[in-house]
C-alpha cells in the first residue's frame, strides 16, 4: 500500500452550497479540522446591470439601481442619483434630503435586523432567527407605508424624492421607533448574554485593526475591528451634516475591541438604536418645502441630457460604503457607470478571518461580514484562472474521439 499524503487536503465549498446564502466559490486547504488557507472566487451572479444602464437614461436607471440589491435598495439609488445630480448641477431641496435620510436609516434598521437573524441561523439558533425576523416586519411595514413597497422602494428620483412624508405617517414611524427602542435592550440581552452565542462568536473570525485597514474594509466590518470609519461622519451627505452621527465602535459598549464575530454583532445591534435616534431627529427637524428640484420628469430628462462631466456618489449603505461613478457626455444615456457595492471591499477580509478556524465556523464567519454577492458581482477578472466551459458539442466531440481511440 502506498503511503498517501493526508494533509493538507482541499475542501471546495460552493459555488452554490446550502451553507452559503449566495453563490461564491471557496477552496479551503485543510489540516485536520483547521483551515490552513482559503481562496475564493466570486463572479457567479454577474447580471450586467451596468451594461443595461448604459443603454438607458438616468430617470430609467434610477429604478434599475433599486434592483442591484434586494436589501439595500435605497443606498444604490441614492448613490447613483447623487452622482447624476452632481454632473447635472441639480440642487436637492432640503426636505428631500431629510426624507432620503429617514428612508436610508429605516433600511439600515431592517438590514441589520435581517443580518442578526441570519447570524443566529448560521449558529443553529433558529428560534432567535424567527424572533428577529418577526420584529423586523414592523420596519418593513413602515417602509411599505412610506414608499408603497416592501423592497424596491422606488422612492428616490434624481433631484429629490417622489413621495412626501405626511403628518399622519409621523405617528406610524414614531410607533415603530419606540417599539424598537424598547426592544433593543432585549435584543442585546438575547444576543450578547447568551452562552451559546458567546461561545461560538467570541474570538472567532478575528480581523485585526491592521488587517482591516490594509484590506480597505468598510462599514460595520471595519468598525467592529476598531477602525473609526463611517461616511455619515467623515463625508456627510443628505441631512447627515445637520445631525450628529458618530461611528459606533465595539469598545463603547464592551470596553474593548477584539474584532471578532461577537464585536460585529454588537456594532450592528447598536447601529439599530442609533438609526432610531437619527430618524427621530430628522422627523423633528424636517423643514417644510419642495420634495424635488424638478417635479416634471420630461424637464428632468432634458436637464440630464444636457449634462456633461463625471461624478462620484458615495453613500454609507448598511454594509459599508457604496460607490457609484457616472460619466455623462451630453447624451441620453451615461457614457460610463461603475458600481462598487460595499461587500466588494469587505470580501477580502474573509481570508485572515477564516485562517485558523474550524470547518464548523465557516458559515458564521462568512456571514459575519454580511456579504451581498449579487450586488458585488460586476465584471470579475480572475488572474491565472484558466477556466473553460464545455458545451454539449464539445462533450459530443470528446465522446466521439474516445470511441475512435478505443477502436484503434
Amino acid at each position: 500500500m502506498s503511503e498517501e499524503k493526508k494533509s493538507p487536503y482541499i475542501i471546495p465549498i460552493g459555488p452554490t452550497h446550502p451553507a452559503l446564502k449566495e453563490p461564491v466559490m471557496f477552496t479551503f486547504r485543510m489540516d485536520g479540522e483547521v483551515i490552513r488557507d482559503v481562496d475564493f472566487a466570486p463572479g457567479q451572479t454577474h447580471r450586467g446591470i451596468e451594461w443595461m444602464g448604459m443603454r438607458r437614461n438616468p430617470v430609467q436607471i434610477v429604478h434599475l439601481t433599486d434592483r442591484i440589491c434586494g436589501i439595500c435598495g435605497v443606498s444604490h439609488t441614492l448613490a447613483f442619483s447623487r452622482a447624476v445630480e452632481q454632473v447635472a448641477g441639480i440642487e436637492v431641496p432640503e426636505r428631500a434630503d431629510y426624507i432620503r435620510t429617514i428612508i436610508a436609516e429605516f433600511e439600515r434598521i431592517q438590514s441589520h435586523l435581517l443580518w442578526a437573524g441570519v447570524a443566529a441561523h448560521e449558529l443553529g439558533f433558529d428560534s432567535l432567527l424567527h424572533l428577529t425576523w418577526r420584529v423586523r416586519e414592523q420596519s418593513m411595514d413602515v417602509i411599505e407605508n412610506l414608499t408603497g413597497n416592501r423592497v424596491n422602494y422606488a422612492l428616490v428620483q434624481v433631484g429629490g424624492v417622489r413621495r412626501d412624508i405626511v403628518p399622519e405617517q409621523h405617528r406610524i414611524i414614531e410607533d415603530c421607533l419606540s417599539t424598537y427602542e424598547g426592544l433593543l435592550g432585549k435584543l442585546l440581552d438575547l444576543f450578547l448574554h447568551d452562552k451559546t452565542i458567546a461561545m461560538r462568536c467570541r474570538n472567532v473570525g478575528l480581523l485585526s485593526k491592521d488587517d482591516a485597514l490594509k484590506l480597505c474594509t468598510v462599514g460595520p466590518t471595519a468598525r467592529a475591528s476598531g477602525v473609526n470609519v463611517d461616511l455619515r461622519q467623515d463625508y456627510p451627505y443628505c441631512a447627515y451634516g445637520d445631525l450628529d452621527v458618530r461611528a459606533i465602535l465595539p469598545d463603547q459598549h464592551l470596553g474593548e475591541t477584539r474584532g471578532d464575530v461577537y464585536d460585529r454583532i454588537v456594532v450592528r445591534l447598536l447601529e439599530v438604536g442609533q438609526s432610531c435616534g437619527i430618524v427621530r431627529q430628522c422627523l423633528s427637524e424636517m423643514p417644510s418645502g419642495e420634495i424635488t428640484a424638478e417635479p416634471k420628469l420630461a424637464k428632468l430628462l432634458a436637464i440630464c441630457k444636457k449634462a456633461r462631466g463625471e461624478a462620484i456618489g458615495r453613500v454609507e449603505a448598511p454594509r459599508g460604503e457604496c460607490f457609484h461613478y457616472v460619466v455623462m457626455e451630453g447624451k441620453e444615456a451615461p457614457t460610463a457607470w461603475k458600481v462598487k457595492a460595499s461587500s466588494y471591499s469587505n470580501l477580502m477580509s474573509w481570508i485572515p478571518m477564516l485562517r485558523g478556524e474550524q470547518i464548523a465556523d465557516i458559515p458564521i464567519v462568512v456571514a459575519s461580514i454580511d456579504p451581498c454577492l449579487s450586488c458585488t458581482d460586476r465584471v470579475a477578472v480572475v488572474r491565472s484562472g484558466s477556466r473553460s466551459i464545455l458545451t454539449k458539442d464539445d462533450l459530443h466531440r470528446l465522446s466521439v474521439e474516445k470511441t475512435r481511440r478505443l477502436q484503434q
Binding site: S127, L131, E137, L190, D194, K195
Partner: protein, 134 residues
Amino acid sequence: MALLPMFPELLKQLFRTPATNMFPAKYLPPSVTGFLKKVGAGQATLVPPVQTPPKFRGKIEYQRDGCIGCSLCVKVCPSNAIELLEETKRIRIWVDQCIFCSQCTDICPKGGLRMTDAFLLADEDRYSENLIVE
C-alpha cells in the same frame, strides 16, 4: 436563566398566535387553482390577504380614450415594458415585464395611467390576456 435569555421568550411564544397571515388558506391546498375554483363556487373560504399599503403600486390601468400617443411613458419605462403601436398611436403594456415603479403614471400628461391595488398577477403564460394591458 442568566445564560439562556431566549428561554422565557420561547415559553411566551407557546401562547401567542402565529405572526404569519395564512393566505390563501390555513393549510396549503393540494392545488391552488383548484382551491380558488372552490372559493369561486362558494365551497371554501379564502383567508383574506394583508391589506395593501396606501398608494400601493399594483397592476397598471390604462385609459385608451384619453391617450394622445405622445410616447413619454415609453421613454421613462426602466424595463421597456411599454410598446407604442405605430398604427393606432396607442400603447401596449406587457405587465410581465413591468417593475411597478409608477414612473409612466407620473409622466403621463393626460393622467391616463393609474396603478391599481391588484397584486395577484401570477400566471403560467407570460403572454396571457391578464398580463397585457392595452
